[in-house]
C-alpha cells in the first residue's frame, strides 16, 4: 500500500515527460493530461481511505529509512488535500481544454501544468523539509511559466512581481533550512520535531517565526499579501483558477504542518496567528470592495478567506484545527469554481470588468446559476458548504473565547456577501455601461458545454461537501487530533529507522 504514495506525484511527472515527447499532437497531449490527472485522483482517493483507516501511510523513498533517506507520509490531512487538489486540477484541465485558448496555442501548457500538479502533490506527501523546498520550487517554477503564458506586457509586469517575491520567499526558506540544519543536524520533519524540543525556547521561537514568514508569503497572509491581487488576475483564465484555488492553500498547508509538527504550539504563537488572521480577513475584504473587476474582486477574497484558515489554526484546539481543515477543503473547491465562472463570463462577454458586462442572467442563465451557488457558499449562506465551514470555525472560536476573531469573521462574512451581490448586480443584471475591451468569443457549442461541465462538476462537489459535511468533519477532526498529538507522526516515521 505504501508504494502508492510516490505515485501521487510520479504519475503527473511521467505524464509531463510523455506530453513533451508528443508535443506535436494536441489531441494526444489532452488525452495524456486527463488520463494522468484522473489516475492521480484515483490514487489520492485510495490513499485517503487507507490513511483514514490506519492513521498514517509511510513510504521510505528508495528503501532508505528516515535517518538517511527521505520519508513520504500520507496522514488524514495530506490525504484530504491530495483528493481535493487532484479533483480541482482535473476539472480545471478539462475547462482549459474546452476553452482552447492558451492551451491550444502553446505546446508547453500541458507539460507545465502537469509539473505544477506534481509539485503540489509532492508538497503534501513529503515528510522532509528540504524535500518540501524542492516540491515548492517544482510548483513555483511551473507557475512562473504559466502566469506569463502569452507574454503580454501586463502579464510580464505582474508576473515579474510574482516571480521576484516568490524567489525572495524561497531564498529565506533555504536560509532557514541551513540554520535549522546547523542547529539540529537533520531536515526530516519527524526528527526535527524531537531535536527542536531540545533547543533553547528563544531559538525555537526564531525558527517558528522565520518558517511562518516563508509560508506566509506563499499563502498571502497580512502583511505579505500585496503581490497576490495584482499578479493572479492577469494570467490566462484556467491558470488563475488553479492558482487561486490551490497555490496559496499549499502555503497554508505548510504553515499548519510546520507549526503543529515542528513546534509545540506555544501560547504566544496562537496570539500571533490570531492577530494575523484578523488583519488578513479585514484587509482582504476591504480591498475587494474597492475593485471593479470580477477577477480582482475574487482575488482579494482569496486573501480574506486565508484569514479564516489561519484563525482556525491559531486557536490550537482540536475543534479549531478541524475547522481550518474543513475550511480549506471547502475553499479550494468553491474558489476554483468562482474563478472558472469568471473565465466563463470573460469567454461569453469578452471582459470580466463589471462596467463592461451586464444582463448575463438572461443571455446565459446557466452561468448565473453556476455563479450563484459558490458565491453564496463563499459568503456563508446556509445550507451551502461555506456556512458549515464558517459555523465550525465560529463555534470553535467561541469555545476558545477568541471574541475579537469571532466578531471579525462574522463581519467579514457580511462584507463578502456585499461583494458577491456587487458582482451579481454588475455581471448578471443590468446592461453594460461600456463596450467590452475585446469582442465576445463566439466559440463552438462544444467548447461552452465542456467549460460549463467542468465548472458544474466543482459546483456539484461543493454541494457534496455540504451534503456529506458530517463524514468530512469527522475526518477533519481526526486529522486535527493527529496534528495536535504529533507523537503519532513522529513515532511512525522514526520507528522504521534502525
Amino acid at each position: 500500500m505504501s508504494s502508492l504514495v510516490p505515485l501521487a506525484f510520479v504519475i503527473p511527472l511521467a505524464g509531463a515527460a510523455l506530453s513533451i515527447v508528443l508535443g506535436w499532437s494536441r489531441a494526444s497531449q489532452r488525452v495524456i493530461s486527463v488520463t494522468a490527472l484522473a489516475a492521480t485522483l484515483a490514487v489520492s482517493i485510495v490513499l485517503l481511505v487507507e490513511a483514514d483507516r490506519e492513521g498514517f501511510i509511510v513510504h521510505d523513498a528508495g528503501g532508505w529509512t528516515a535517518d538517511v533517506g527521505i520519508s513520504l507520509v500520507v496522514d488524514r490531512l495530506a490525504g484530504l488535500m491530495l483528493v481535493v487538489s487532484s479533483l480541482v486540477l482535473l476539472a480545471v484541465m478539462i475547462f482549459a481544454i474546452g476553452e482552447a485558448e492558451e492551451e491550444q496555442r502553446r505546446v508547453g501548457f500541458h507539460p507545465i501544468y502537469l509539473v505544477l500538479a506534481a509539485g503540489v502533490m509532492a508538497s503534501f506527501v513529503t515528510a522532509d523539509l528540504f524535500n518540501l523546498f524542492v516540491a515548492f520550487e517544482m510548483m513555483l517554477a511551473a507557475s512562473y511559466v504559466l502566469i506569463t503564458l502569452g507574454g503580454r506586457p501586463d502579464q510580464l509586469r505582474s508576473g515579474m512581481t510574482y516571480v521576484v517575491i516568490s524567489l525572495v520567499a524561497s531564498t529565506v526558506f533555504i536560509t532557514v533550512l541551513a540554520l535549522l540544519y546547523a542547529a539540529t543536524g537533520t531536515v526530516n520533519m519527524a526528527d526535527l520535531s524531537v531535536r527542536l524540543a531540545e533547543l533553547d525556547p528563544a531559538v525555537r521561537a526564531a525558527f517558528a517565526l522565520a518558517l511562518l514568514v516563508v509560508f506566509a508569503i506563499k499563502a498571502g497572509l497580512f502583511p505579505l499579501f500585496f503581490w497576490l491581487p495584482d499578479s493572479y488576475p492577469t494570467a490566462p483564465g484556467p491558470v488563475t483558477a488553479i492558482f487561486a484555488g490551490l497555490l496559496t492553500k499549499v502555503g497554508v498547508y505548510a504553515i499548519i504542518r510546520t507549526q503543529t509538527l515542528l513546534f509545540d504550539a506555544p501560547d504566544w504563537m496562537g496570539t500571533v496567528l490570531l492577530t494575523i488572521a484578523v488583519l488578513t480577513m479585514i484587509v482582504g475584504v476591504l480591498g475587494a470592495i474597492a475593485q471593479d473587476d470580477m477577477k480582482r474582486i475574487l482575488a482579494f477574497h482569496i486573501i480574506s478567506q486565508i484569514g479564516y484558515m489561519i484563525f482556525g489554526l491559531g486557536l490550537f484546539t482540536v475543534a479549531g484545527v478541524a475547522g481550518a481543515v474543513f475550511y480549506i477543503v471547502h475553499h479550494i473547491i468553491v474558489k476554483t469554481a468562482l474563478f472558472l465562472v469568471a473565465g466563463l463570463v470573460a469567454h461569453r462577454a469578452g471582459s470580466s470588468r463589471l462596467s463592461e458586462v451586464g444582463g448575463l442572467v438572461r443571455t446565459a442563465p446557466l452561468v448565473a446559476v453556476l455563479f450563484a451557488v459558490p458565491a453564496l457558499s463563499l459568503a456563508g449562506i446556509p445550507p451551502f458548504s461555506g456556512f458549515l465551514a464558517k459555523f465550525v470555525l465560529v463555534d470553535a472560536g467561541m469555545s476558545a473565547e477568541a471574541w475579537i476573531a469571532v466578531a471579525a469573521s462574522l463581519a467579514v462574512g457580511l462584507l463578502t456577501l456585499y461583494s458577491m451581490t456587487k458582482i451579481w448586480a454588475g455581471v448578471f443584471w443590468g446592461v453594460p455601461e461600456e463596450e467590452p475591451s475585446s469582442p465576445p468569443n463566439e466559440g463552438g457549442r462544444w467548447s461552452f458545454v465542456t467549460m460549463a461541465a467542468a465548472t458544474g462538476s466543482l459546483v456539484v462537489a461543493s454541494i457534496g461537501v455540504s451534503l456529506w459535511a458530517g463524514e468530512l468533519y469527522d475526518v477533519a477532526e481526526r486529522s486535527a487530533e493527529d496534528l495536535l498529538e504529533r507523537d503519532g507522526y513522529v513515532e511512525v516515521v522514526l520507528e522504521r529507522a534502525p
Binding site: F130, A141, Y181
Partner: protein, 133 residues
Amino acid sequence: MTVLLALVVAVLFASGAWLLMQRRLSRIIIGVGLLGHGANLLLITAGGEGGRAPIIDGGGGYSDPLPQALGLTAVVITFGVTALLLAFGYRSWQITGDDRVEDDLEDRLVERRADEVDEHEPTDSAGDEEPAP
C-alpha cells in the same frame, strides 16, 4: 574560516537585497543571483568546519555530505530560475525597449485619482529611477 564565510554570506545577502530593491530588471536578476549564492554558501557553512576529506569507508572525520547535496540541489534551482528571469528581461526589452519594472495597476489608479484632484500639478510617473538612456 567559518567567521570569514559568515562575513561573505552577510555581504552577499546585503548586496543582493539592495539590488532587489532597484527598478531595473537586470539589477534585480543580479540581486536574485547574489541572494541565491549567499543562501547556498550558508548551507555549506552549516555543514561544519571546512577542509576535511570527502565521505570515505571506515575512517571517521570526513565532512558532512548532506549540506553539500542540499547545496547542489539549490544551485541547480537557482540556475534554472535565473535563466527564466533573463528570458523575462529579454521579453520585457523586446516589448518596451526598456527593462524597468512599471508601477502596478493599483498604483496607477491611485495616481490617476490624485491627478484628477489637482489637475494643475500632474505628478511624474517615472518612479525613483533616472530615465532610460
